[in-house]
């Protein structure tokens, strides 16, 4: 193991740029942590621009975007361990770690968002099974544990702990299955959460299909995360990108997005609300943007093998779809909700700083893991040979 790690380290000389990037990420993460401490000491009113008109702000938008984006971990695990397609196994560690970091970010940001954060354990002590917020919190907590288990083999193997490693391995299918069930539940519940806003959420977005639509976009968005991580991380460390594998994922993204797009439009058609697309209002424009950037564009790119077999095409398709996902979640959680006249919300810099810090910390951990854990990016070419 030591020799392997030594080899690994030698194959990757640390450059100054890399060190500077790490330090920068560290600084941002430290700033975020500092601001978070201020937020806990001084309360929400003093450190955010949230108000009675905007009880939820950019933090919730971040959460409802990062959760489906992190779904890459569960979709890829389903491909490898349930559909038993071994070829994708090599992609699993970085994607699962990215998913895990995504969920840890969400938990941290949710904690900062609570008005009574010191009481978070009430979510375990008192249950209201009719609340989707309750279901989401539970599934997110449990699924984070599942992700730790799913990622643990990589760490245990690097540490050379054979016993625990084999034990975890032998239960892989069990907790992967649990992860898939938990993910289906909370990804759809994130959509169900908005059902109560029937009269407040604009009709372009409110539909009883919200849970299904959220699940579909989470699968597509998660696959995009898998593509982006599997492309950008090896690239950053000068390792080969497995383009043909990612192209298959890209095709699946196109498929899921196409189904989503058709469902969405059919739903509007049946509800007799297609006319809302052409009112020329700001919201109809946002809806078009979401549909073109997040559905039409990526489907056009990723459905053509000529384009998705190239790194550039894949990158474009996956990035567009991710952007569309973010816009969709922002529309639902922020823009398309009724507000009293004359109220505005522009996030406080402290709200933004906490998010930036969380993302910086996640990227830093992902990069360090890729560098320090020998099995993260799969065998190097010479090892494979």
């Amino acid at each position: 193991m030591t020799t392997r790690r030594a080899q690994w380290a030698r194959s990757l000389p640390v450059s100054w740029t890399e060190v500077v990037v790490y330090l920068l990420l560290l600084a941002l993460a430290a700033l975020g942590l500092g601001v978070a401490i201020v937020r806990f000491m001084r309360g929400l009113g003093a450190t955010t621009n949230l108000s009675n008109a905007y009880p939820w702000g950019i933090w919730i938008t971040f959460d409802v975007f990062i959760v489906p984006f992190s779904a890459g971990a569960f979709t890829l695990a389903a491909v490898v361990y349930i559909l038993n397609d071994e070829r994708y196994h090599v992609l699993v560690p970085p994607v699962v770690l990215a998913g895990l970091l995504g969920y840890i970010m969400v938990c941290a940001v949710l904690l900062a968002d609570l008005g009574l954060p010191h009481r978070f354990y009430n979510i375990i002590a008192f249950l209201n099974p009719e609340s989707f917020m309750f279901e989401i919190s539970w599934c997110v907590m449990l699924y984070t544990v599942v992700l730790v288990l799913e990622f643990s083999p990589v760490v245990l193997e690097s540490l050379g702990w054979e016993g625990p490693h084999r034990l975890v391995r032998s239960f892989t299918v069990v907790f992967v299955s649990a992860g898939i069930i938990l993910s289906s539940l909370h990804q759809s519940s994130l959509g169900s959460m908005w059902l109560l806003l029937q009269d407040k959420l604009h009709a372009l977005w409110w539909t009883p299909l919200l849970p299904l639509l959220f699940l579909l976009t989470a699968i597509a968005g998660g696959l995009c995360m898998a593509i982006l991580v599997s492309m950008l991380l090896p690239r950053a460390f000068g390792r080969p990108v497995r383009t043909h594998l990612l192209a298959n994922l890209g095709r699946a993204v196109a498929g899921f997005l196409a189904v989503y797009g058709v469902l969405k439009l059919l739903d509007l058609l049946i509800a007799g609300e297609l006319g809302l697309l052409f009112t020329g209002s700001t919201l109809s424009f946002l809806f078009w943007a979401e549909l073109l950037i997040g559905v039409a564009g990526p489907v056009a790119i990723l459905s053509q093998s000529r384009l998705r077999e190239t790194n550039r095409g894949l990158l474009a398709g996956a990035s567009l779809a991710t952007l569309g996902l973010a816009l969709n979640r922002a529309n639902i959680s922020m823009f398309a909700i009724w507000r009293p006249r004359g109220t505005v919300y522009i996030p406080h810099w402290m709200e933004v700083a906490i998010l930036v810090g969380a993302v910086a910390a996640a990227v830093l951990v992902l990069a360090l893991a890729a560098r320090l854990l020998p099995t993260m990016l799969g065998p190097t070419e010479e090892e494979a040979a």
Binding site: M41, R42, G43, L44, G45, A46, L50, N52, P55, W56, Y81, I82, L83, N84, E86, D113, L114, G115, L116, P117, H118, R119, I123, F126, L127, N128, P129, E130, S131, F132, M133, F134, E135, S137, S170, T172, V173, I181, S184, L185, S188, S189, S192, L195, L196, Q198, D199, K200, H202, A203, P208, P211, T279, S281, S284, W338, R339, P340, R341, G342
Partner: protein
């Protein structure tokens, strides 16, 4: 039995005695307010102001109305806030009041997001804030008294009693003076019904209340709402909380069982197909746990 309050906006003189009575009974502090060019003051509900008399100048059928509507928690029969609350801090008493339990709340503010009447407020000014809203004077109700605001109303605009009686009283007034009222008891059916019932001389949408989808509503321009698209939020007769609760009750186990069945099926299928195709290190794991 379920209690209700009847608000007759046509009788209200905007004396705002109810605002003061509410503050007195509940020991709520005064607030520093700004003059926004309206007698409506404070301008909005807050954690320290649980009821306000909303004042709107409304043009309807060629006449100008100065409408006064007491805003407060509607104490819905199927409250969205109760369905939303993950820890059961929001709960409804059998006789009507929708209450908030300080000791349970985690401050997620989903109740604020979910309430169709935009009632719950948060104590933004405190390091550790709680949700606050009208509690229907549940403490007075328990002693057989009426809410403080109703008790104080000198104009007879507020009435309190059994919900059926209040509906009957409202309908009686509609019949007695048809020209005085829009022929509709607001809150009888809206969102599955509320414990606060309202009578008005102008359509309820003009008062900023979410109205039944099938009710005639003024055009969006007339309302001059901020966002044209949501000028008139609409409520169904079915409480939306019911959709939520049914989905949570049956959908959640349904999804869990359905997905588990699919996974088991896939496992069985891939085993039948033979695990011989497996290469790489995860294959043994799949075999071990599958056996």
């Amino acid at each position: 039995m379920s209690k209700a309050m009847l608000i007759d906006t046509t009788r209200c003189t905007a004396c705002r005695g109810c605002q003061v009575a509410c503050k007195q009974w509940n020991d709520l502090p005064a607030e520093k307010t700004r003059n926004l060019g309206s007698y409506q003051n404070p301008y909005r509900l807050s954690a320290y102001t649980w009821t306000i008399v909303q004042m709107r100048e409304v043009e309807y059928e060629g006449r100008l109305f100065w409408s006064f509507l007491k805003r407060q928690c509607m104490h819905c029969l199927h409250p969205a806030c109760v369905s939303a609350c993950p820890v059961g801090a929001m709960h409804k008493l059998p006789d009507g009041p929708v209450l908030y339990n300080d000791a349970r709340c985690i401050g997620c503010r989903y109740c604020m997001t979910a309430c169709p009447f935009r009632i719950p407020r948060f104590e933004w000014d405190k390091p550790v804030g709680y949700i606050r809203k009208c509690h229907f004077c549940f403490d007075r109700l328990a002693e057989g008294l009426m809410p403080a605001c109703v008790k104080t109303c000198p104009a007879g605009a507020l009435q309190f009693g059994e919900r059926e009686e209040m509906i009957a009283l409202a309908e009686q007034r509609l019949k007695a003076q048809p020209e005085r009222y829009i022929q509709h008891v607001y809150g009888k059916e809206e969102g599955g019904g509320t414990s606060v019932l309202i009578l008005s001389a102008v359509p309820f949408a003009y008062l900023g209340l979410p109205t039944l989808a099938d009710h005639p509503v003024p055009s969006e321009q007339e309302l001059a709402m901020p966002f044209e698209y949501l000028g008139v939020p609409s409520l169904g007769r079915e409480p939306v909380a019911k959709l939520n609760d049914d989905l949570a009750r049956y959908g959640t186990p349904g999804i869990a069982i359905g997905v588990a069945a699919i996974l088991a099926g896939l496992q069985w299928y891939s085993k039948r197909r033979g695990t011989g195709q497996h290469t790489g290190d995860a294959a043994p794991a799949a075999k071990e746990s599958g056996s």
